[in-house]
């Protein structure tokens, strides 16, 4: 009989090897390789392939990889193929810092792309700034990111705080008799969720819409039922939910339905934009009338977006509605970097930063991109989308091309 220590070492080694093998199946790094004579351009990114943001993180990975594949199929950038080096940060603000240090100092990547979520973008962008790297990202639009006033941050998406503005404007445009009399503002404790809901509350309250509930709750799926029941008890006519993902919205919807409470308006900061991942969780019928802000949706009339959707469906199958906004955001990051590097004819990060700050307007599947001194995209347009009879449609601003009539009041829960 071998000593216990030796047996444990054997066991631990086997467990570790198996864990590494299986974990390797769930995450990846370095995907798109080149066969050309010139060496590929190595681009590094840290993504949340596991952990709290894994659903969004893996969608971002797909978006980056899809972009790299598209670029490489058209000859790459500056005649060189693109190769991605993606590390898993497990949704940890600590690990994301380590990952970018590794990408920059060990892997010597030429360029960096941002991670998922403002929570991770804030510390990650500071590391990139320290080493002089441009940090183009698509999911770090919260005020905490721009408050750092870093010169290297460029968020290609819509600034988070403004996302619900078309919704507030629409409520304001309604005759007083048609406006909701009361509103509830439950918010997850997250830098993405709270700013936009608080801003909406600050606009609606002076209109005479009484605040029935305004509280921040922990961002844990185990802690959603109680605040959802509390909101239901208020019977508020409008609910503006500061959600971060599908489970947040799903929890509130389920609790509302169980309490036989159906607000006239229900808009969530995130979740309903996740396509089939949302409808499969809440049921297509229950999704009817649910609203969400965003800058992109699969039915966008933007020509670049239509081309991307077509190519994506051709490559991965499914339908356009299966493509969630994360993929478009990630794809936009690649597009912006591609245009800037091509313009500079150089991989110099200093030139890249300078060019992106020059006031130039670039194109992306999400629409035009032009950065201010803080790296916010000044020309991105906020839209409000709504699920209507199984379709995800643009409803606000009312005057925007492509907007259809809003479903108001929200239909009752299906069951």
């Amino acid at each position: 009989m071998r000593p216990n220590g030796a047996r444990f070492l054997t066991l631990a080694a086997t467990a570790a090897a198996t864990a590494a093998l299986i974990a390797g199946c769930g995450s990846s790094s370095g995907t798109t390789t080149s066969s050309g004579s010139k060496s590929p351009i190595l681009i590094g990114a840290s993504l949340s392939l596991t952990g709290d943001f894994s659903a969004d993180g893996q969608a971002y990975q797909k978006g980056y990889e899809f972009w790299a594949g598209q670029v490489n199929s058209h000859g790459g950038i500056l005649g060189r193929k693109v190769e991605l080096k993606i590390l898993n940060d497990n949704s940890s603000p600590t690990q994301v810092v380590t990952n970018y240090q590794t990408l920059i100092n060990i892997d010597h990547v030429a360029l960096t792309f941002g991670p998922f979520s403002s929570l991770l973008t804030a510390p990650a962008s500071a590391i990139a700034h320290r080493y002089g790297y441009a940090f183009v990202e698509g999911a770090g639009g919260a005020p905490i990111v721009f408050a750092q006033k870093l010169s290297n941050v460029f968020d290609v998406s819509l600034p988070v705080a403004d996302e619900l503005d078309p919704f507030s404007a629409w409520i304001k445009s309604l005759p007083a008799s048609q406006r909701p009399a009361t509103a509830a503002y439950p918010m997850a404790d997250d830098p993405f969720a709270t700013p936009q809901v608080q801003r909406t509350q600050s606009i609606l309250q002076p209109l005479g819409i009484k605040t029935a509930y305004s509280k921040i709750f922990p961002e844990e799926v185990t802690a959603y039922k109680a605040p959802a029941d509390d909101v239901a008890a208020t019977k508020a006519q409008a609910v503006v939910l500061g959600s971060t993902d599908v489970p947040t919205v799903s929890s509130f919807m389920t609790a509302f339905e169980q309490q036989h409470y159906n607000p006239k308006i229900f808009i969530a900061a995130a979740g309903p934009d996740q396509g089939s991942a949302f409808t499969s969780a809440v049921g297509a019928a229950n999704a009817n009338g649910m609203m969400v802000p965003d800058a992109w949706y699969p039915g966008s009339r933007n020509a670049l977006s239509q081309a991307m959707v077509k190519a994506y469906v051709a490559k991965y199958g499914g339908s356009a509605s299966d493509i969630n906004a994360d993929i478009a955001e990630a794809y936009s990051v690649g597009e912006v970097v591609d245009q800037a590097v091509t313009h500079d004819n150089s991989l110099s990060n200093a030139k890249l930063i300078s060019y992106l700050h020059s006031g130039v307007t670039l194109s992306s599947v999400q629409g035009p991109v032009r950065f201010n001194a803080l790296g916010e995209n000044l020309v991105s347009t906020a839209y409000i989308f709504q699920w209507q009879n199984g379709k995800f449609v643009q409803v606000l601003p009312v005057s925007a091309a492509g907007s259809v009539k809003i479903l108001y009041p929200k239909p009752h829960w299906a069951s």
């Binding site: 570790a16 299986i22 596991t50 894994s54 185990t222 509390d230 309490q259 996740q274 969780a281």
Partner: protein, 291 residues
Amino acid sequence: MVREILENTVDGILSGGVYALMAVGLTLIFGVLDIINVAQGILVITGAYLSYALSVHLHIGLFLGLLITIPAMFLLGMVIHLAFIRPLGGPERTSMSLLACFAVAIIIEGALYWIFGPNFVVLKASNASIRISGFYLTDIYLYAFALAVALVAAIYLLLYRTKFGRSVRATMQDQTAARLIGINVNRVATLTFGIGVAVTAAGGMAYGATSGGFNPNSGYDLISRLLAIVILGGLGSIGGALAAAVLMITIESVVDIWYPNWAIVVFYAALVLVLTFRPAGLFGRAAVRAQ
């Protein structure tokens, strides 16, 4: 306000039943094997995914599906024990078992990501409810609570009314003495680990049906709460797990009326407070083993 407090108290009691279903296996395993199974969270999620697979692919109802998922999880538990826990021995067995359970959790999480992907899924349960003075009690919570009480009672009967139960209790009290009177301690340990994991199948189903969604990462949200519950109840105490789950979740639910962001803090503060006066928990281990 009184109505809100009453509602949240009832909510907390019923939700506590769901947590008890998830925690019972953890405390049973500790009671017999002296192992803190940190893989409990991911095992709960595994149980939820099994129910999900049966429900979506074979259209088997959630409660009926337990007839399949409980035996399946029992087998999984035995395999985990035989492959990862039993080979450990010596004075550092307990600490080494923590590492082994952590490795198991990582392996299972990776496998779930591989099979089901990262997107959140929901177990579709009926939203039928009964109305009590303007407040609706949902059937799924009532059934989950009843299931928790029934399972706790069943485990009690197993432990105190069967020959196997006597072997388990003897092993809990003194493994060496149990061996001397002819009990196959290894067999008892493997079966107990299997039972502990099997009960988790019911917890996983209840969690999946009452939460807003779960993915392979969701186990991490659970494990700290489950550990707090079994520590408060008294490590090894089956009834203590039920009582502690109900108490903790009810406190959290009531605090949530005023300060949602502090509810979780109060949850752990209550744990610290109780342990200050009763270090062994509500139903301490010494008392449990003396039963």
